[in-house]
Amino acid sequence: MNVHRTNLPAISATRLGKRYGDRWVLRDVDLDVPAGTVLGLLGPNGAGKTTTVRILTTLLRPDEGTARVAGFDVATEDARVRARIGLAGQAATVDELLSGRANLELVGRLYKLGSRAARARADELLERFSLADAADRLARTYSGGMRRRLDLAASLVAAAPVLFLDEPTTGLDPRSRNELWNTLRELVDGGTTLLLTTQYLEEADRLADRIAVIDAGRVIARGTPAELKARVGGERVVVTLRSEDQLAAAAGALAPLAAEPPHADAGALEVTAPVSNGTTLLGVVRALDDANVAAADVGLRSATLDDAFLTLTGHATHDLEEAA
């Protein structure tokens, strides 16, 4: 909890919908993000995360519903919204034929910072995103991670009160990712409202005050990271078998130890089950041994987004992509 938090929603959406032809890519999306908090929009590719961000940043008009950002309607007061937001979209939006510094200065000028302030701000952000050494090189010579960092720096030029980041850490190495997380945490502690999309539960867990899980254009679950993790369960035990005819026996052996009914995957010859905290690997091996199941491999791992999806939607994320 931080001192800047108020009950005023910085972002609110009511029954947002977007369709292409008769295919709805977004339907009935309600969001409510209090000022100074972080909402993580979690979902697989094609779930509607980017569409939501594009509507909230005035780049796309919704076909249904309304949304307000920083107190203004995104459809009818779009200019006022743009004056109060920063955006780092999913595709890096840097100008490849300008240097990193020139990119940031241009954005600063367009935010009406004045040339001196724009230059100072560019220097500050280049330093913060470890781009100072490459500041005067053309952006097209940058690596993917450097472009991503330049793009994120551009979204911070005006220190806008509401920030939208679409999969901000995609393409970043672990060190840059940690630095970005720290930077974002500082901004939010300073009162910035942040909406970020991610495919990674860990990222949402680390940054978000609240998470909305989005799947096939609809919000299917929402809550704090702790609430969602409680629903998804903590660790998973994964048993890999040698033959398909032992799937049922293995599932039966795991059932007493599992928090939810085990999930048998005949293709992968795997049985997966969420387990309660007290369960040890040794206990699992014993239970399998007692049931005369010869496992090729037994392991414990933490819950992943796939597990979250399995629990929340009843189908795996890859089933979705195949169906799409």
Binding site: E77, R84, T93, V94, L110, Y111, P161
Partner: protein, 278 residues
Amino acid sequence: MTAIADPTTVSTATRLRWAVGDCLALTKRNLTHVRHVPEKLIDVTLQPLMFVLLFAYVFGGAISVSGGSYHEYLMGGIIVQTLTFAIMGTAVGLADDMGKGVVDRFRSLPMARSAVLAGRTLADMIANVLALGVLVAAGLIVGWGVHDGVGSAIAGFALVLLFSYAMTWAGVLLGLLVRAPDAAQGFVFVVIFPLTFLANTFVSTQDLPSGLREVAEWNPISAVVAAVRDLFGNPTGLPADPAWPLQHAIPVAIAWSVAILAVCVPLALRRYRLATAR
């Protein structure tokens, strides 16, 4: 926290000043591109020089015009043709921008939405002025000159720049309509090439077969070329009984420029809003 530039809370004068600032910032961006990729200037430097020399020395001996030398006749045509063809750079450059994420960045900023287009046309106009300088120098080499005084010559240059600015907006519109930069290039070629040749650009309309002659004489390019020749004091090569637009070439050329702007600017702005709202 930095002050936020909300265009709806400031006076009209400030908003206008901001819009001009946005446009200049985008103009500077486009010119910086040219500085980093100087090859982009070939079509406004080496190409016009090549055209002048080729036409002057290859066709110069074969074509004669009444009332003066072909070299003097040629320059008005080649200036208008070169600056009309320059819309290819506008269309390709804009189509290229539209295909990249950078336009999303611009559209999410509190800036005048027209600045992306206006900045493009301003930068291209600066390139056009450069091309005009190269053409004048090349013209002087092959024996062309102005003969009706400095004021009239300046009026001629102003007229051709006005027309080329109008055509730049046609290039903007085209760049927004095509799906890929390559398409813009092909389209400009199949439209502008016949447009600039089916005119009095290189030959007098007098010698064209009936039907084609009427098309050429009503072609806006012909009016602009005839007006420029008139203002430069060069031979106009007009037939004894030219069609109405060629009898009033200067006002007709201005009217065409204004008409092209009046149609293309609002259509381009509308198209920009639509193309980017999908």
